[in-house]
């Protein structure tokens, strides 16, 4: 096969695009990890619910796609806050503050994952649903055609991340979110209503996952079991970037995206899904704390 720079470029662009979506889910997992001291194993299912919310809003209710995206984010955010309040809070609280989570939390996360999948199955069935939206002709850059859905995904993802960064860095509430993520006891003693902020962090993370679902939907299709693989990829992205680091999650996602697209193109397309884990293992061998990992105590 003759080496073709155009197609290399295309693979990288596709990798980055899918990568920022991984990054968005990974960012949520990182946020929850900082905020609640738990690794949220049901986050893939939140992503799946988000995709279905988007599908219902855009197709069944004929709401314009951008509005469906925002609607799905809000719905998933509220759903996340409800799950945190009803199921997780008891567990995160027991054992002195929110710090000691332990085995109960892991089991609870897996249980939630299975429960959510079954709920989705009851509502929407097992079939894969196409989520087609008409965005017009693919865009042509030089000799490469990029579907509009990819472009849209990249633009929306980067915009959402930029917004989140601005929120965390430059607003008073964002500062309080970071304070809660870094040290709950001290945040409490500075007058921050910590439980409310924990809910907010969880809701935010779920809204990001939903955005990822609605963006991926038109590229693939929407299906009850779609969460599992996304969780694994996002998890790999979070670890590659350094668990708990927010910029790390995004960059980790992009790396995973590029790596798996190049692997599929130049090594073997039928093993696409293992490249993420190959990268994960590589990074862990070279830098166990992740590429952007900071010391375990210093989070967010």
């Amino acid at each position: 096969m003759e080496f073709d720079f155009n197609s290399l470029f295309a693979f990288i662009i596709f990798g980055v695009t899918i990568g920022v979506v991984y990054g968005m889910v990974a960012l949520g997992i990182s946020l929850i990890y900082s905020g609640l001291d738990i690794v949220h194993f049901a986050h893939g299912e939140i992503y799946m619910f988000g995709a279905f919310f988007g599908l219902v809003l855009a197709k069944d209710m004929s709401i314009p796609y951008p509005a469906a995206l925002i609607g799905a984010m809000i719905l998933a955010g509220l759903m996340g806050m409800l799950i945190e309040r009803v199921f997780y809070r008891r567990l995160t609280r027991s054992g002195g503050g929110y710090t000691v989570a332990g085995m109960g939390m892991i089991i609870c996360g897996f249980g939630m994952s299975v429960a959510l999948m079954n709920v989705a199955f009851l509502i929407w069935g097992a079939d894969a649903e196409p989520f087609s939206i008409d965005l017009g002709m693919p865009l042509q850059i030089a000799d490469i055609y990029i579907p509009q859905s990819y472009l849209l995904t990249a633009v929306v993802s980067f915009a959402l991340m930029g917004l989140l960064h601005f929120f965390l860095k430059y607003t008073k509430i964002g500062l309080a979110v970071r304070a809660v993520a870094q040290n709950k006891d001290i945040a409490y003693l500075m007058g921050i209503n910590v439980p409310v902020f924990i809910s907010l962090i969880f809701g935010l993370a779920c809204a990001l996952a939903a955005a990822a679902g609605v963006l991926i939907g038109p590229m693939q299709s929407v299906q009850v079991e779609m969460g599992y693989l996304m969780l694994m990829k996002a998890f790999a992205a979070a670890v590659v970037g350094g668990f708990g680091s927010l910029p790390g999650a995004l960059l980790g996602g992009i790396l995973v995206g590029i790596f798996e697209n190049l692997g599929a193109a130049y090594i073997s397309p039928s093993h696409k899904d293992i490249y993420a884990f190959l990268l994960l293992i590589l990074v862990l061998m070279i830098r166990p704390s992740g590429l952007f990992g900071i010391e375990a105590k210093v989070k967010a």
Partner: protein
Amino acid sequence: MLEIKNVHAGYGKLKILRGINLSVPKGKIIALLGGNGTGKSTLLKTISGLLPLMEGSIEFDGQILDKKKPHEIVKAGLVQVTQSKESYPAMTVEENLMVGSYVRNDRHGVQQDLEKIYEFFPILKTRRKTLSGTLSGGEVQMLVIGRGLMANPKMLMLDEPSAALAPKVVLEIFSNIYKISQTGVTILIVEQNVRMALLLAEYGYIIRDGVIMLEGKSDNLIHDSSVRESFLGGTVADTSRELSA
């Protein structure tokens, strides 16, 4: 300003405090003294609402705090600076200070207080943009006191501000605590460094095993034989001074 009546509290079922009575009048500096593990921090955690009250009552500035949450107590104007000297290491010095002002809505006042704190602790101003994780122990202590002040509290509770710091730094911090009290902030200072604390405070309480063992004017406590025996007599400095006298 702060009235603590017959307070019993502890961790879960484990009772540490057994009937504490303590009073901090407005505008004064009061010291709570005692050795390691006697219940000083436990009392501050209880006052701040981090630990539930088993018995007794706490009143601050005309409000009953018994059932209040930590953030409500901060809003009432009572702020604690913990003994752990924890800043937010991944935030800059200035961001740390701004977290302290979370309960306030007066932007102008916040800006003024920021300047005031930079005057108290000039080193914080020169390092305002650096991550607080890189500060020295003394600088972090200044930062967390400053962060507490940013809430514009009526009363500040300081848990062992001198612990693990060099004598010169301790002196600087104590002189700043005095200056802070001169601006009208009521202060409860918890210390194991009894001599320094009694120089600063007007009145002191000595706690042992969760009960107040002794209380009185600082002058009287310094000369009290049991205080000298348990806290003051043992230090090398004291012994050498007495030998030379």
